[in-house]
């Protein structure tokens, strides 16, 4: 489904974010990418979202080189990816309902579909009772769950979560990890970046470990053992 083919990203002579990355992610997989700050996790996601272009190599989504997609078609491509960020990135002047509805409106969905689907996804993340709350009226965990609901509402092919538990307490971290697993169980591919060993431990699926722009490990067993030993 996703294929990073020998990808490097060099910002300048002092800053090389990725070095010769080759990575394949199959449909329906749950892949956790772990590594310290500066390991290259976020750059990897930016390349997948076509926010950055690789210095060398190609990134494919269903065999399409995403960096050859014309700018006018990029929004179509991005709608296939649900994004969740560490800082939630909700629209501050919209309620939980409206934040999710906005993603559906942007995708051209009808008002009837919106009225039907938004309460459904809010229920899926246990926030049906906070539908009309603004982001500043929600806790960190609740904001992240709204962000997940927004990412899911257009039924994306892949859910990309960039450090989604970075700003959350252990209870909410656990809750978000549980929701992501449930999403994956329902058939959506999930790509998660984190440096929280307990999240990786709890999810227990494929783990790709990055260090200074390289993939140093890509094995569920190996990674879990390393993380367990480190913690």
């Amino acid at each position: 489904m996703i294929y990073f083919d020998n990808v490097s990203k060099v910002y300048n002579e002092y800053s090389t974010a990725l070095r010769e990355i080759t990575l394949e992610i199959a449909q329906g997989e749950f892949v956790s990418i772990v590594g310290h700050s500066g390991a290259g996790k976020s750059t990897l996601l930016k390349l997948l979202l076509a926010e950055e272009t690789p210095t060398e190599g190609q990134v494919y989504f269903h065999s399409v080189n995403i960096h050859q997609i014309p700018p006018r078609n990029l929004m179509e491509y991005r709608r296939k990816i649900g994004m969740v960020f560490q800082d939630f990135r909700l629209l501050p002047h919209k309620t939980a309902y409206e934040n999710i509805a906005f993603a559906m409106e942007a995708a051209g969905r009808s008002d009837e579909e919106i009225a039907e689907d938004v309460p459904y996804v809010l229920d899926l993340v246990d926030l049906a009772d906070k539908m009309w709350h603004f982001p500043h009226e929600l806790s960190g965990g609740e904001k992240q769950r709204v962000a997940i609901a927004r990412a899911l509402v257009n039924q994306p092919e892949i859910l990309v979560a960039d450090e989604p538990t970075g700003n959350l307490d252990p209870v909410n971290t656990h809750e978000v990890a549980r929701i992501l697993m449930r999403v994956n169980d329902l058939g959506t591919t999930v790509l998660l970046t984190t440096h929280n060993p307990s999240v990786v431990e709890m999810i227990g699926r494929r783990v790709v470990t990055m260090d200074r722009g390289r993939i140093v490990r890509d094995s569920p067993q190996e990674a879990r053992q390393t993380i367990a030993a480190a913690s």
Partner: protein
Amino acid sequence: MSVTLLLQRIVRSGFVKFFRNGFVSTASVLVMTVTLFVMGGLMLLFFLLNASLALLKEKVDINVYFVPSASEEQALALKRELEQLPEVARVEYISREEALRRFILRHQGEELTLQAIEELGENPLGAVLAIKAKEPSQYAQVAQFLSQRQEVLLSAEGAPMIDRINYFQNKEAIDRLANIIDAAERFGVAATAVLVIATTMIIFTTIRLAIYGAREEIAVMRLVGASNTYIRGPFVFEGAFAGALAGLFAMLLLWPVAYFVGTRTKEFFGGVDLFAFYTAHAGVLLLVLVGTGVVLGGLASFLAVKRYLNV
């Protein structure tokens, strides 16, 4: 997405954004109101200037005084010649009788003067041609033409038919007035140009600052896959709506100003009533102020958002 649905969502989203983003919206409307108010004020001032200049221009003329023995045909012949000149706006023929009547009217109460006229037993005044040029600066050319004609318009005995042309007595005053009118018109055009540029820049900067605060929001909209039109639309609508409100407020603010200043200008500018102008042209003024607000607000938003869409 159909165009109707897109427009409907853009308008709805723009309205919601405007009212929920209370502080920024209020600040934008306030700044735009002040700017448009100044612009509206200048429009009123321009009217006052034009009306006053028109009054001044109306007061300037050249009179050709014929000798009493000059015939009506001679005066009317010169009138026809003058009307052919491109500089001349109109020529009024005042007969000897009419000139006497006006003279008596003007000197009502001056017993000595009226008595002297009566004692003469006949009308001592000749016919008069009152000439209005299109522009005050053109009187010199008209006067030159008249002085040429003065030399050839003679009676059978060779006596001149034109007694005098008052331009040469009033030349200095006419020239000075022409210069003042010319300078005032140039100043008006320059002030308008400066103010139009200032209005545009202030509105553009205000909107740009408001949208700068929403740049993160634009980035999020882009990441959830919204098209550029769908991201930009509500901002453009919001800017245009703020501009429309500002235009309306500026118009309302001008009402007491026009009322207060109007009564004074009526006395000072010889009957030019600013308030009467405001009420008579309220529709056009409103259209210009609201239109300027909508166009500048919408355009400024369009350009400001564009900056954050190219990521």
